[in-house]
Symmetry: C2
Subunit: 329 residues, 2 copies
Protein backbone atom coordinates (compact mmCIF):
# COMPACT_ATOMS: atom_id res chain seq x y z
CA UNK A 1 0.00 0.00 0.00
CA UNK A 2 1.24 3.45 -0.92
CA UNK A 3 2.26 5.78 1.90
CA UNK A 4 -0.04 8.79 2.24
CA UNK A 5 1.47 12.02 0.92
CA UNK A 6 0.68 15.62 1.66
CA UNK A 7 -1.31 15.62 -1.56
CA UNK A 8 -3.62 12.93 -0.18
CA UNK A 9 -4.06 14.88 3.04
CA UNK A 10 -4.88 18.06 1.11
CA UNK A 11 -7.41 16.24 -1.06
CA UNK A 12 -9.06 14.61 1.94
CA UNK A 13 -9.31 17.92 3.78
CA UNK A 14 -10.50 19.74 0.66
CA UNK A 15 -7.68 22.31 0.75
CA UNK A 16 -4.68 23.07 -1.46
CA UNK A 17 -1.32 21.41 -0.90
CA UNK A 18 0.08 24.73 0.27
CA UNK A 19 -2.64 25.12 2.89
CA UNK A 20 -2.20 21.55 4.10
CA UNK A 21 1.52 22.08 4.42
CA UNK A 22 1.08 25.33 6.36
CA UNK A 23 -1.44 23.71 8.66
CA UNK A 24 0.85 20.77 9.40
CA UNK A 25 3.89 22.95 9.95
CA UNK A 26 2.02 25.46 12.06
CA UNK A 27 2.95 28.25 9.64
CA UNK A 28 1.01 31.01 7.92
CA UNK A 29 -2.35 32.53 8.76
CA UNK A 30 -5.10 29.94 8.72
CA UNK A 31 -8.44 29.60 10.46
CA UNK A 32 -8.40 27.17 13.39
CA UNK A 33 -11.13 25.17 11.72
CA UNK A 34 -8.91 24.64 8.65
CA UNK A 35 -5.97 23.53 10.78
CA UNK A 36 -8.16 21.05 12.57
CA UNK A 37 -9.64 19.65 9.38
CA UNK A 38 -6.14 19.10 7.95
CA UNK A 39 -4.89 17.52 11.18
CA UNK A 40 -7.88 15.16 11.22
CA UNK A 41 -7.27 14.15 7.60
CA UNK A 42 -3.57 13.56 8.32
CA UNK A 43 -4.39 11.36 11.27
CA UNK A 44 -7.01 9.38 9.40
CA UNK A 45 -4.62 8.69 6.51
CA UNK A 46 -1.70 7.87 8.80
CA UNK A 47 0.31 10.70 7.26
CA UNK A 48 3.68 11.09 8.95
CA UNK A 49 5.38 14.44 8.40
CA UNK A 50 8.95 13.82 7.36
CA UNK A 51 10.80 14.00 10.67
CA UNK A 52 14.14 13.34 8.99
CA UNK A 53 13.61 16.43 6.88
CA UNK A 54 12.80 18.35 10.03
CA UNK A 55 15.81 16.94 11.90
CA UNK A 56 18.07 18.51 9.32
CA UNK A 57 17.18 21.99 10.47
CA UNK A 58 20.69 22.54 11.77
CA UNK A 59 23.94 23.50 10.08
CA UNK A 60 23.10 22.59 6.50
CA UNK A 61 22.60 24.44 3.22
CA UNK A 62 19.18 22.85 2.77
CA UNK A 63 19.94 22.36 -0.89
CA UNK A 64 20.42 19.21 -2.91
CA UNK A 65 21.51 18.84 -6.51
CA UNK A 66 19.53 16.84 -9.04
CA UNK A 67 21.71 15.82 -11.97
CA UNK A 68 19.88 14.42 -14.93
CA UNK A 69 20.79 13.24 -18.42
CA UNK A 70 17.23 13.17 -19.68
CA UNK A 71 16.80 16.23 -21.87
CA UNK A 72 13.16 15.53 -22.55
CA UNK A 73 12.24 15.46 -18.87
CA UNK A 74 10.11 12.44 -19.61
CA UNK A 75 11.55 10.45 -16.70
CA UNK A 76 13.34 13.05 -14.62
CA UNK A 77 10.43 15.43 -14.02
CA UNK A 78 8.24 12.87 -12.22
CA UNK A 79 11.30 11.78 -10.23
CA UNK A 80 11.92 15.41 -9.30
CA UNK A 81 8.31 15.94 -8.28
CA UNK A 82 8.47 12.92 -5.99
CA UNK A 83 11.76 14.12 -4.53
CA UNK A 84 10.30 17.61 -3.93
CA UNK A 85 7.46 15.97 -2.03
CA UNK A 86 9.82 14.02 0.18
CA UNK A 87 12.15 16.96 0.76
CA UNK A 88 9.32 19.13 2.04
CA UNK A 89 7.87 21.90 -0.09
CA UNK A 90 10.51 24.57 -0.09
CA UNK A 91 12.31 23.36 3.02
CA UNK A 92 15.08 21.82 0.97
CA UNK A 93 15.58 23.31 -2.47
CA UNK A 94 16.65 21.51 -5.60
CA UNK A 95 19.36 22.69 -7.98
CA UNK A 96 18.49 21.07 -11.27
CA UNK A 97 21.31 20.43 -13.73
CA UNK A 98 21.02 18.75 -17.10
CA UNK A 99 24.24 17.23 -18.39
CA UNK A 100 22.94 16.41 -21.87
CA UNK A 101 24.87 13.15 -21.54
CA UNK A 102 28.19 14.99 -21.62
CA UNK A 103 30.60 13.57 -18.98
CA UNK A 104 32.65 16.78 -18.84
CA UNK A 105 29.55 18.87 -18.33
CA UNK A 106 28.53 16.50 -15.56
CA UNK A 107 31.90 16.90 -13.91
CA UNK A 108 31.58 20.68 -13.95
CA UNK A 109 28.13 20.53 -12.44
CA UNK A 110 29.31 18.23 -9.66
CA UNK A 111 32.16 20.66 -8.88
CA UNK A 112 29.75 23.59 -8.90
CA UNK A 113 27.31 21.82 -6.60
CA UNK A 114 30.09 20.89 -4.19
CA UNK A 115 31.24 24.53 -4.18
CA UNK A 116 27.67 25.50 -3.33
CA UNK A 117 27.83 23.12 -0.36
CA UNK A 118 24.84 21.03 -1.32
CA UNK A 119 23.83 18.53 1.35
CA UNK A 120 23.57 15.73 -1.16
CA UNK A 121 23.07 14.69 -4.76
CA UNK A 122 20.45 12.75 -6.65
CA UNK A 123 21.70 11.41 -9.97
CA UNK A 124 18.84 10.56 -12.30
CA UNK A 125 19.13 9.06 -15.75
CA UNK A 126 17.81 6.75 -18.34
CA UNK A 127 19.31 3.35 -17.92
CA UNK A 128 21.17 1.40 -20.53
CA UNK A 129 23.78 -0.29 -18.38
CA UNK A 130 25.16 0.73 -14.97
CA UNK A 131 26.97 4.06 -15.28
CA UNK A 132 30.29 5.38 -13.98
CA UNK A 133 29.83 6.54 -10.38
CA UNK A 134 29.73 10.29 -9.74
CA UNK A 135 32.82 11.43 -7.87
CA UNK A 136 31.99 13.90 -5.13
CA UNK A 137 34.13 15.05 -2.27
CA UNK A 138 33.77 13.31 1.11
CA UNK A 139 30.66 14.14 3.06
CA UNK A 140 28.33 14.56 0.09
CA UNK A 141 26.02 11.56 -0.10
CA UNK A 142 24.80 10.48 -3.53
CA UNK A 143 21.68 8.51 -4.42
CA UNK A 144 20.99 7.21 -7.92
CA UNK A 145 17.46 7.16 -9.32
CA UNK A 146 16.47 5.34 -12.53
CA UNK A 147 20.13 4.44 -12.98
CA UNK A 148 22.81 2.65 -10.95
CA UNK A 149 26.56 2.99 -10.50
CA UNK A 150 28.78 0.31 -12.04
CA UNK A 151 30.64 -0.22 -8.76
CA UNK A 152 27.47 -1.57 -7.19
CA UNK A 153 27.76 0.72 -4.17
CA UNK A 154 24.59 2.64 -4.62
CA UNK A 155 22.29 3.36 -3.11
CA UNK A 156 20.19 3.23 -6.26
CA UNK A 157 16.43 3.28 -6.64
CA UNK A 158 14.98 1.62 -9.71
CA UNK A 159 11.52 0.62 -10.85
CA UNK A 160 10.99 -3.13 -10.65
CA UNK A 161 11.10 -3.77 -14.41
CA UNK A 162 11.11 -7.52 -13.97
CA UNK A 163 8.01 -7.32 -11.78
CA UNK A 164 6.41 -5.04 -14.37
CA UNK A 165 6.93 -7.67 -17.09
CA UNK A 166 5.41 -10.26 -14.78
CA UNK A 167 2.36 -8.07 -14.08
CA UNK A 168 1.71 -7.67 -17.80
CA UNK A 169 1.93 -11.41 -18.48
CA UNK A 170 -0.22 -12.34 -15.49
CA UNK A 171 -2.92 -9.90 -16.59
CA UNK A 172 -3.01 -11.31 -20.12
CA UNK A 173 -3.12 -14.87 -18.76
CA UNK A 174 -5.92 -13.88 -16.38
CA UNK A 175 -8.09 -12.62 -19.25
CA UNK A 176 -7.63 -15.98 -20.96
CA UNK A 177 -4.93 -15.30 -23.51
CA UNK A 178 -2.56 -18.17 -24.32
CA UNK A 179 -0.66 -17.05 -27.43
CA UNK A 180 1.19 -14.07 -25.99
CA UNK A 181 4.03 -12.42 -27.90
CA UNK A 182 6.58 -9.84 -26.68
CA UNK A 183 8.00 -6.93 -28.68
CA UNK A 184 10.45 -4.58 -26.98
CA UNK A 185 13.36 -2.14 -27.27
CA UNK A 186 17.07 -2.76 -27.87
CA UNK A 187 18.59 -5.80 -26.14
CA UNK A 188 21.46 -3.64 -24.84
CA UNK A 189 19.00 -1.90 -22.48
CA UNK A 190 18.98 -3.60 -19.11
CA UNK A 191 15.33 -2.63 -18.58
CA UNK A 192 14.30 -4.32 -21.86
CA UNK A 193 15.98 -7.54 -20.75
CA UNK A 194 14.47 -7.39 -17.25
CA UNK A 195 10.94 -6.84 -18.57
CA UNK A 196 11.38 -9.77 -20.97
CA UNK A 197 12.65 -11.93 -18.12
CA UNK A 198 9.67 -11.18 -15.87
CA UNK A 199 7.30 -11.80 -18.76
CA UNK A 200 8.92 -15.18 -19.58
CA UNK A 201 8.95 -16.23 -15.91
CA UNK A 202 5.22 -15.59 -15.52
CA UNK A 203 4.39 -17.61 -18.64
CA UNK A 204 6.64 -20.45 -17.48
CA UNK A 205 4.98 -20.47 -14.06
CA UNK A 206 1.60 -20.81 -15.81
CA UNK A 207 2.87 -23.57 -18.10
CA UNK A 208 2.23 -21.44 -21.19
CA UNK A 209 4.69 -21.28 -24.10
CA UNK A 210 5.56 -17.78 -25.34
CA UNK A 211 4.25 -17.06 -28.84
CA UNK A 212 7.56 -16.78 -30.72
CA UNK A 213 10.81 -15.38 -29.38
CA UNK A 214 11.21 -11.94 -27.76
CA UNK A 215 11.58 -9.40 -30.55
CA UNK A 216 14.19 -6.83 -29.54
CA UNK A 217 14.37 -3.71 -31.72
CA UNK A 218 13.87 -0.03 -30.98
CA UNK A 219 11.76 2.08 -28.60
CA UNK A 220 9.74 3.41 -31.55
CA UNK A 221 6.32 3.17 -33.12
CA UNK A 222 7.99 2.26 -36.41
CA UNK A 223 9.52 -0.82 -34.81
CA UNK A 224 6.13 -1.73 -33.32
CA UNK A 225 4.53 -1.58 -36.77
CA UNK A 226 7.28 -3.65 -38.35
CA UNK A 227 7.53 -6.28 -35.61
CA UNK A 228 3.75 -6.72 -35.51
CA UNK A 229 3.83 -7.46 -39.23
CA UNK A 230 6.46 -10.16 -38.66
CA UNK A 231 4.41 -11.68 -35.83
CA UNK A 232 1.03 -11.91 -37.54
CA UNK A 233 1.77 -15.36 -39.03
CA UNK A 234 2.18 -16.71 -35.46
CA UNK A 235 -1.46 -15.65 -34.81
CA UNK A 236 -0.91 -14.16 -31.32
CA UNK A 237 -4.00 -13.41 -29.21
CA UNK A 238 -2.06 -10.89 -27.10
CA UNK A 239 1.09 -8.79 -27.40
CA UNK A 240 3.03 -7.33 -24.49
CA UNK A 241 5.08 -4.32 -25.65
CA UNK A 242 8.16 -2.92 -23.91
CA UNK A 243 6.89 0.66 -24.30
CA UNK A 244 3.67 2.51 -25.07
CA UNK A 245 5.22 3.79 -28.29
CA UNK A 246 5.89 0.24 -29.50
CA UNK A 247 2.30 -0.68 -28.54
CA UNK A 248 0.93 2.18 -30.65
CA UNK A 249 2.86 0.97 -33.67
CA UNK A 250 1.54 -2.55 -33.09
CA UNK A 251 -2.02 -1.17 -32.90
CA UNK A 252 -1.54 0.59 -36.28
CA UNK A 253 -0.56 -2.68 -37.96
CA UNK A 254 -3.36 -4.67 -36.32
CA UNK A 255 -5.90 -2.08 -37.45
CA UNK A 256 -4.48 -2.07 -40.98
CA UNK A 257 -5.02 -5.85 -41.33
CA UNK A 258 -8.43 -5.80 -39.67
CA UNK A 259 -7.59 -7.47 -36.35
CA UNK A 260 -9.71 -6.05 -33.55
CA UNK A 261 -8.18 -4.79 -30.28
CA UNK A 262 -8.77 -6.36 -27.77
CA UNK A 263 -11.20 -8.95 -29.19
CA UNK A 264 -8.67 -10.59 -31.53
CA UNK A 265 -5.45 -9.34 -29.98
CA UNK A 266 -5.10 -7.77 -26.52
CA UNK A 267 -2.35 -5.19 -26.09
CA UNK A 268 -0.34 -4.11 -23.04
CA UNK A 269 2.21 -1.29 -23.16
CA UNK A 270 4.83 -0.08 -20.67
CA UNK A 271 5.46 3.42 -19.20
CA UNK A 272 1.85 4.55 -18.84
CA UNK A 273 2.94 7.78 -20.48
CA UNK A 274 -0.32 9.74 -20.52
CA UNK A 275 -0.19 11.39 -23.97
CA UNK A 276 0.77 8.10 -25.62
CA UNK A 277 -1.37 5.68 -23.61
CA UNK A 278 -4.54 7.79 -23.47
CA UNK A 279 -4.30 9.05 -27.05
CA UNK A 280 -4.02 5.52 -28.50
CA UNK A 281 -6.88 3.86 -30.34
CA UNK A 282 -8.11 2.19 -28.17
CA UNK A 283 -6.48 3.63 -24.98
CA UNK A 284 -3.69 1.36 -23.77
CA UNK A 285 -3.44 -0.88 -20.78
CA UNK A 286 0.05 -0.11 -19.54
CA UNK A 287 2.58 -0.81 -16.79
CA UNK A 288 3.24 2.30 -14.70
CA UNK A 289 6.72 2.61 -13.16
CA UNK A 290 5.50 4.93 -10.38
CA UNK A 291 8.29 7.39 -11.10
CA UNK A 292 7.15 9.87 -8.45
CA UNK A 293 7.48 7.11 -5.87
CA UNK A 294 10.99 6.36 -7.21
CA UNK A 295 11.81 10.04 -6.58
CA UNK A 296 10.26 9.98 -3.11
CA UNK A 297 12.18 6.86 -2.11
CA UNK A 298 15.44 8.22 -3.54
CA UNK A 299 14.99 11.49 -1.63
CA UNK A 300 14.24 9.48 1.52
CA UNK A 301 17.53 7.59 1.18
CA UNK A 302 19.32 10.85 0.53
CA UNK A 303 17.92 12.37 3.73
CA UNK A 304 19.03 9.25 5.60
CA UNK A 305 22.52 9.59 4.10
CA UNK A 306 22.67 13.27 5.05
CA UNK A 307 21.79 12.32 8.64
CA UNK A 308 24.69 9.87 8.69
CA UNK A 309 22.68 6.72 8.12
CA UNK A 310 23.48 5.82 4.50
CA UNK A 311 21.64 3.13 2.55
CA UNK A 312 23.44 0.71 0.23
CA UNK A 313 22.71 -1.43 -2.79
CA UNK A 314 19.84 -1.39 -5.25
CA UNK A 315 16.23 -0.84 -4.15
CA UNK A 316 13.29 -1.42 -6.43
CA UNK A 317 9.89 0.25 -6.40
CA UNK A 318 6.99 -1.95 -7.54
CA UNK A 319 5.23 -1.17 -10.81
CA UNK A 320 1.46 -1.12 -11.10
CA UNK A 321 -0.75 -2.14 -14.01
CA UNK A 322 -3.30 0.36 -15.34
CA UNK A 323 -6.01 -1.49 -17.26
CA UNK A 324 -7.73 0.25 -20.19
CA UNK A 325 -9.63 -0.79 -23.32
CA UNK A 326 -6.69 -2.37 -25.18
CA UNK A 327 -6.91 -5.44 -22.98
CA UNK A 328 -10.64 -5.55 -22.48
CA UNK A 329 -10.98 -3.31 -19.42
CA UNK B 1 19.65 34.21 -38.19
CA UNK B 2 20.22 32.31 -34.96
CA UNK B 3 23.02 33.52 -32.67
CA UNK B 4 25.85 30.97 -32.35
CA UNK B 5 25.83 29.12 -29.04
CA UNK B 6 28.55 27.29 -27.18
CA UNK B 7 27.08 24.12 -28.63
CA UNK B 8 27.81 25.31 -32.17
CA UNK B 9 31.34 26.26 -31.19
CA UNK B 10 31.91 22.83 -29.62
CA UNK B 11 30.56 21.04 -32.70
CA UNK B 12 32.70 23.14 -35.07
CA UNK B 13 35.82 22.49 -32.99
CA UNK B 14 35.00 18.80 -32.60
CA UNK B 15 35.07 18.92 -28.80
CA UNK B 16 32.46 18.51 -26.05
CA UNK B 17 30.48 21.45 -24.72
CA UNK B 18 32.39 21.18 -21.44
CA UNK B 19 35.75 21.41 -23.19
CA UNK B 20 34.63 24.35 -25.32
CA UNK B 21 33.43 26.15 -22.21
CA UNK B 22 36.68 25.51 -20.34
CA UNK B 23 38.69 26.69 -23.32
CA UNK B 24 36.71 29.91 -23.65
CA UNK B 25 36.82 30.64 -19.94
CA UNK B 26 40.52 29.83 -19.61
CA UNK B 27 39.70 27.19 -17.01
CA UNK B 28 40.73 23.57 -16.52
CA UNK B 29 43.64 21.62 -17.98
CA UNK B 30 43.54 21.58 -21.76
CA UNK B 31 46.17 21.30 -24.46
CA UNK B 32 47.10 24.61 -26.10
CA UNK B 33 46.12 23.15 -29.47
CA UNK B 34 42.60 22.45 -28.17
CA UNK B 35 42.23 25.97 -26.78
CA UNK B 36 43.31 27.43 -30.10
CA UNK B 37 40.94 25.25 -32.09
CA UNK B 38 38.01 26.31 -29.89
CA UNK B 39 39.01 29.98 -30.08
CA UNK B 40 39.22 29.76 -33.87
CA UNK B 41 35.78 28.14 -34.08
CA UNK B 42 34.32 30.80 -31.77
CA UNK B 43 35.75 33.58 -33.90
CA UNK B 44 34.58 32.04 -37.16
CA UNK B 45 31.04 31.63 -35.83
CA UNK B 46 30.97 35.10 -34.29
CA UNK B 47 30.34 33.54 -30.86
CA UNK B 48 30.25 36.17 -28.15
CA UNK B 49 30.85 34.87 -24.63
CA UNK B 50 28.15 36.26 -22.40
CA UNK B 51 29.79 39.35 -20.98
CA UNK B 52 26.71 40.21 -18.96
CA UNK B 53 27.03 36.87 -17.20
CA UNK B 54 30.67 37.61 -16.53
CA UNK B 55 29.94 41.15 -15.33
CA UNK B 56 27.84 39.68 -12.57
CA UNK B 57 30.89 38.20 -10.87
CA UNK B 58 30.51 40.55 -7.92
CA UNK B 59 28.24 40.51 -4.91
CA UNK B 60 25.56 38.11 -6.12
CA UNK B 61 24.32 34.68 -5.18
CA UNK B 62 24.71 33.47 -8.75
CA UNK B 63 21.44 31.63 -8.46
CA UNK B 64 18.14 32.15 -10.20
CA UNK B 65 14.83 30.47 -9.58
CA UNK B 66 12.83 28.79 -12.32
CA UNK B 67 9.20 28.47 -11.35
CA UNK B 68 7.12 26.26 -13.56
CA UNK B 69 3.56 24.98 -13.61
CA UNK B 70 4.18 22.35 -16.24
CA UNK B 71 4.35 19.04 -14.42
CA UNK B 72 5.12 17.07 -17.54
CA UNK B 73 8.20 19.13 -18.35
CA UNK B 74 7.05 19.11 -21.94
CA UNK B 75 7.53 22.87 -22.31
CA UNK B 76 9.58 23.85 -19.28
CA UNK B 77 12.54 21.51 -19.81
CA UNK B 78 13.53 22.95 -23.20
CA UNK B 79 13.06 26.45 -21.75
CA UNK B 80 15.33 25.49 -18.84
CA UNK B 81 17.97 24.06 -21.18
CA UNK B 82 18.03 27.29 -23.16
CA UNK B 83 18.25 29.32 -19.98
CA UNK B 84 21.12 27.15 -18.68
CA UNK B 85 22.95 27.85 -21.91
CA UNK B 86 22.52 31.59 -21.57
CA UNK B 87 23.40 31.63 -17.88
CA UNK B 88 26.71 29.91 -18.53
CA UNK B 89 27.21 26.28 -17.66
CA UNK B 90 27.38 26.19 -13.91
CA UNK B 91 28.22 29.87 -13.48
CA UNK B 92 24.70 30.70 -12.42
CA UNK B 93 22.73 27.83 -10.97
CA UNK B 94 19.04 27.19 -11.34
CA UNK B 95 16.67 26.34 -8.50
CA UNK B 96 13.81 24.53 -10.16
CA UNK B 97 10.41 24.63 -8.45
CA UNK B 98 7.22 23.08 -9.73
CA UNK B 99 4.06 24.66 -8.37
CA UNK B 100 1.66 22.07 -9.83
CA UNK B 101 -0.63 24.98 -10.62
CA UNK B 102 -1.25 25.66 -6.92
CA UNK B 103 -1.10 29.43 -6.19
CA UNK B 104 -0.28 28.89 -2.52
CA UNK B 105 2.51 26.54 -3.39
CA UNK B 106 3.84 29.15 -5.81
CA UNK B 107 3.73 31.78 -3.08
CA UNK B 108 5.76 29.59 -0.75
CA UNK B 109 8.35 28.93 -3.44
CA UNK B 110 8.68 32.63 -4.18
CA UNK B 111 9.22 33.34 -0.46
CA UNK B 112 11.76 30.55 -0.23
CA UNK B 113 13.66 31.80 -3.29
CA UNK B 114 13.70 35.34 -1.92
CA UNK B 115 15.05 34.00 1.39
CA UNK B 116 17.78 32.26 -0.59
CA UNK B 117 18.67 35.61 -2.16
CA UNK B 118 18.25 34.55 -5.75
CA UNK B 119 19.40 37.16 -8.25
CA UNK B 120 16.24 36.79 -10.30
CA UNK B 121 13.29 34.65 -11.29
CA UNK B 122 12.11 33.06 -14.49
CA UNK B 123 8.42 32.15 -14.39
CA UNK B 124 7.55 29.55 -17.01
CA UNK B 125 4.13 28.16 -17.72
CA UNK B 126 1.62 26.95 -20.18
CA UNK B 127 -0.47 29.79 -21.39
CA UNK B 128 -4.21 30.02 -21.28
CA UNK B 129 -4.65 33.70 -20.58
CA UNK B 130 -2.23 36.18 -18.99
CA UNK B 131 -1.58 35.14 -15.39
CA UNK B 132 -1.44 37.02 -12.10
CA UNK B 133 1.99 38.62 -11.73
CA UNK B 134 4.42 37.03 -9.28
CA UNK B 135 4.99 39.28 -6.26
CA UNK B 136 8.64 39.39 -5.28
CA UNK B 137 10.38 41.78 -3.02
CA UNK B 138 12.10 44.82 -4.52
CA UNK B 139 15.36 44.11 -6.30
CA UNK B 140 14.45 40.70 -7.63
CA UNK B 141 13.81 40.97 -11.35
CA UNK B 142 11.30 38.59 -12.91
CA UNK B 143 11.04 37.43 -16.52
CA UNK B 144 8.10 35.40 -17.83
CA UNK B 145 8.63 32.67 -20.41
CA UNK B 146 5.78 30.95 -22.27
CA UNK B 147 3.36 32.99 -20.18
CA UNK B 148 2.75 36.69 -19.50
CA UNK B 149 1.56 38.75 -16.54
CA UNK B 150 -1.92 40.26 -16.70
CA UNK B 151 -0.60 43.71 -15.77
CA UNK B 152 1.29 43.82 -19.08
CA UNK B 153 4.54 44.84 -17.38
CA UNK B 154 6.62 41.87 -18.38
CA UNK B 155 9.13 41.35 -19.61
CA UNK B 156 7.67 38.21 -21.15
CA UNK B 157 9.09 36.00 -23.87
CA UNK B 158 6.63 34.03 -25.99
CA UNK B 159 6.82 32.00 -29.15
CA UNK B 160 5.29 33.84 -32.09
CA UNK B 161 2.16 31.70 -32.33
CA UNK B 162 0.55 33.98 -34.89
CA UNK B 163 3.64 33.77 -37.08
CA UNK B 164 3.60 29.98 -36.64
CA UNK B 165 0.05 29.79 -37.97
CA UNK B 166 1.08 31.95 -40.91
CA UNK B 167 4.08 29.70 -41.68
CA UNK B 168 1.83 26.65 -41.78
CA UNK B 169 -0.68 28.27 -44.13
CA UNK B 170 2.01 29.67 -46.43
CA UNK B 171 3.63 26.26 -46.72
CA UNK B 172 0.35 24.57 -47.64
CA UNK B 173 -0.41 27.31 -50.18
CA UNK B 174 3.09 26.96 -51.63
CA UNK B 175 2.57 23.24 -52.29
CA UNK B 176 -0.60 24.09 -54.19
CA UNK B 177 -3.34 23.40 -51.66
CA UNK B 178 -6.45 25.59 -51.87
CA UNK B 179 -9.00 23.87 -49.62
CA UNK B 180 -7.24 24.23 -46.28
CA UNK B 181 -9.06 23.52 -43.00
CA UNK B 182 -7.98 24.30 -39.42
CA UNK B 183 -8.60 22.14 -36.34
CA UNK B 184 -7.24 23.29 -32.99
CA UNK B 185 -7.48 23.31 -29.19
CA UNK B 186 -9.89 25.14 -26.88
CA UNK B 187 -10.83 28.69 -27.87
CA UNK B 188 -10.05 29.90 -24.34
CA UNK B 189 -6.35 29.31 -25.04
CA UNK B 190 -4.71 32.47 -26.30
CA UNK B 191 -2.21 30.45 -28.34
CA UNK B 192 -5.03 28.60 -30.16
CA UNK B 193 -6.61 31.92 -31.13
CA UNK B 194 -3.28 33.42 -32.23
CA UNK B 195 -2.41 30.43 -34.41
CA UNK B 196 -5.86 30.58 -36.01
CA UNK B 197 -5.45 34.31 -36.62
CA UNK B 198 -2.07 33.89 -38.37
CA UNK B 199 -3.46 31.05 -40.46
CA UNK B 200 -6.49 33.10 -41.53
CA UNK B 201 -4.36 36.17 -42.33
CA UNK B 202 -2.08 34.17 -44.65
CA UNK B 203 -5.05 32.70 -46.53
CA UNK B 204 -6.63 36.12 -46.84
CA UNK B 205 -3.39 37.60 -48.18
CA UNK B 206 -3.35 34.87 -50.85
CA UNK B 207 -7.01 35.43 -51.70
CA UNK B 208 -7.91 31.88 -50.63
CA UNK B 209 -11.07 31.09 -48.65
CA UNK B 210 -10.58 28.87 -45.59
CA UNK B 211 -12.22 25.44 -45.97
CA UNK B 212 -14.92 25.72 -43.30
CA UNK B 213 -14.67 27.55 -39.99
CA UNK B 214 -11.90 27.06 -37.40
CA UNK B 215 -12.82 24.02 -35.34
CA UNK B 216 -11.93 24.68 -31.71
CA UNK B 217 -12.02 21.65 -29.38
CA UNK B 218 -9.35 19.94 -27.27
CA UNK B 219 -5.60 19.36 -27.46
CA UNK B 220 -6.19 15.62 -27.96
CA UNK B 221 -5.95 12.92 -30.60
CA UNK B 222 -9.56 12.04 -29.90
CA UNK B 223 -10.66 15.53 -30.91
CA UNK B 224 -8.51 15.29 -34.06
CA UNK B 225 -10.27 12.05 -35.03
CA UNK B 226 -13.70 13.49 -34.38
CA UNK B 227 -13.16 16.86 -36.05
CA UNK B 228 -11.63 15.23 -39.13
CA UNK B 229 -14.77 13.13 -39.47
CA UNK B 230 -16.90 16.29 -39.37
CA UNK B 231 -14.70 17.94 -41.99
CA UNK B 232 -14.58 15.20 -44.58
CA UNK B 233 -17.73 16.39 -46.34
CA UNK B 234 -15.98 19.72 -47.05
CA UNK B 235 -13.36 17.75 -49.05
CA UNK B 236 -10.27 19.59 -47.71
CA UNK B 237 -6.96 19.02 -49.53
CA UNK B 238 -4.99 20.12 -46.47
CA UNK B 239 -5.54 20.43 -42.71
CA UNK B 240 -3.50 22.62 -40.38
CA UNK B 241 -3.74 21.30 -36.81
CA UNK B 242 -3.09 23.31 -33.63
CA UNK B 243 -0.99 20.50 -32.13
CA UNK B 244 0.81 17.35 -33.23
CA UNK B 245 -1.59 15.31 -31.13
CA UNK B 246 -4.59 16.70 -33.00
CA UNK B 247 -2.77 16.00 -36.28
CA UNK B 248 -2.25 12.37 -35.30
CA UNK B 249 -5.94 11.94 -34.61
CA UNK B 250 -6.74 13.52 -37.98
CA UNK B 251 -4.32 11.08 -39.67
CA UNK B 252 -6.13 8.14 -38.04
CA UNK B 253 -9.46 9.22 -39.49
CA UNK B 254 -8.04 9.95 -42.94
CA UNK B 255 -6.41 6.51 -43.03
CA UNK B 256 -9.63 4.85 -41.86
CA UNK B 257 -11.57 6.32 -44.81
CA UNK B 258 -8.82 5.68 -47.34
CA UNK B 259 -7.63 9.23 -47.95
CA UNK B 260 -3.89 9.29 -48.61
CA UNK B 261 -1.52 11.61 -46.73
CA UNK B 262 -0.20 13.81 -48.30
CA UNK B 263 -1.49 12.97 -51.81
CA UNK B 264 -5.18 13.57 -50.99
CA UNK B 265 -4.83 15.63 -47.81
CA UNK B 266 -1.62 17.31 -46.61
CA UNK B 267 -1.20 17.67 -42.83
CA UNK B 268 0.70 20.18 -40.72
CA UNK B 269 0.94 19.91 -36.92
CA UNK B 270 2.20 22.30 -34.25
CA UNK B 271 4.80 21.77 -31.47
CA UNK B 272 7.24 19.56 -33.37
CA UNK B 273 7.22 17.31 -30.33
CA UNK B 274 9.63 14.58 -31.40
CA UNK B 275 7.88 11.44 -30.09
CA UNK B 276 4.54 12.54 -31.56
CA UNK B 277 5.74 14.08 -34.83
CA UNK B 278 8.33 11.43 -35.75
CA UNK B 279 6.23 8.47 -34.61
CA UNK B 280 3.23 9.50 -36.73
CA UNK B 281 2.29 7.66 -39.91
CA UNK B 282 3.58 9.40 -42.00
CA UNK B 283 5.94 11.62 -39.94
CA UNK B 284 4.43 15.08 -39.45
CA UNK B 285 5.38 18.41 -40.88
CA UNK B 286 5.14 20.63 -37.81
CA UNK B 287 5.69 24.16 -36.51
CA UNK B 288 8.53 24.26 -33.97
CA UNK B 289 8.27 26.93 -31.25
CA UNK B 290 12.06 26.96 -30.66
CA UNK B 291 11.53 26.63 -26.92
CA UNK B 292 15.25 26.55 -26.13
CA UNK B 293 15.58 29.91 -27.84
CA UNK B 294 12.66 31.19 -25.74
CA UNK B 295 14.63 30.10 -22.66
CA UNK B 296 17.85 31.69 -23.91
CA UNK B 297 16.14 34.99 -24.66
CA UNK B 298 14.33 34.98 -21.30
CA UNK B 299 17.59 34.34 -19.45
CA UNK B 300 19.22 37.13 -21.44
CA UNK B 301 16.53 39.58 -20.32
CA UNK B 302 16.91 38.33 -16.76
CA UNK B 303 20.66 38.99 -16.84
CA UNK B 304 19.97 42.47 -18.19
CA UNK B 305 17.46 43.05 -15.38
CA UNK B 306 19.96 41.84 -12.78
CA UNK B 307 22.51 44.31 -14.15
CA UNK B 308 20.00 47.12 -13.70
CA UNK B 309 18.89 47.36 -17.32
CA UNK B 310 15.42 45.82 -17.27
CA UNK B 311 13.45 44.97 -20.42
CA UNK B 312 9.70 45.62 -20.66
CA UNK B 313 6.74 44.30 -22.59
CA UNK B 314 6.23 41.14 -24.58
CA UNK B 315 8.91 39.75 -26.88
CA UNK B 316 8.25 36.98 -29.37
CA UNK B 317 10.63 34.38 -30.73
CA UNK B 318 9.95 33.28 -34.31
CA UNK B 319 8.72 29.76 -34.98
CA UNK B 320 10.20 27.59 -37.71
CA UNK B 321 8.53 25.02 -39.94
CA UNK B 322 9.96 21.50 -40.09
CA UNK B 323 8.80 19.79 -43.27
CA UNK B 324 8.29 16.02 -43.28
CA UNK B 325 6.30 13.45 -45.30
CA UNK B 326 2.83 14.53 -44.13
CA UNK B 327 2.99 17.54 -46.45
CA UNK B 328 4.99 16.03 -49.26
CA UNK B 329 8.51 16.69 -48.02
Amino acid sequence: MRRATIRDVAAAAGVSIGTASKALNGQGKLRAETRERVAAAAQELGFAPNTLAQALLAGRSYTVGLITTDSFGRFSIPVMLGAEDALGIGQISVFMCDTRDDPEREERYVEMLAARRVDGLIVAGRRIEPRAPVRTGPGIPVVYAMTQPANGHGPAVLPDDEGGGRLAAEHLLAIGRRRIAHITGPERFLNARLRARGFAAALLAAGVEPCGHTRYGEWTERWGREAAGQLLADRPDAIFCGSDQIARGVADTLRAVGRRIPEDVALVGFDNWAPMALGALPPLTSVDMCLEEVGRVAAGYLLAGISGDPAHGVHTVPCRLVVRESSGG
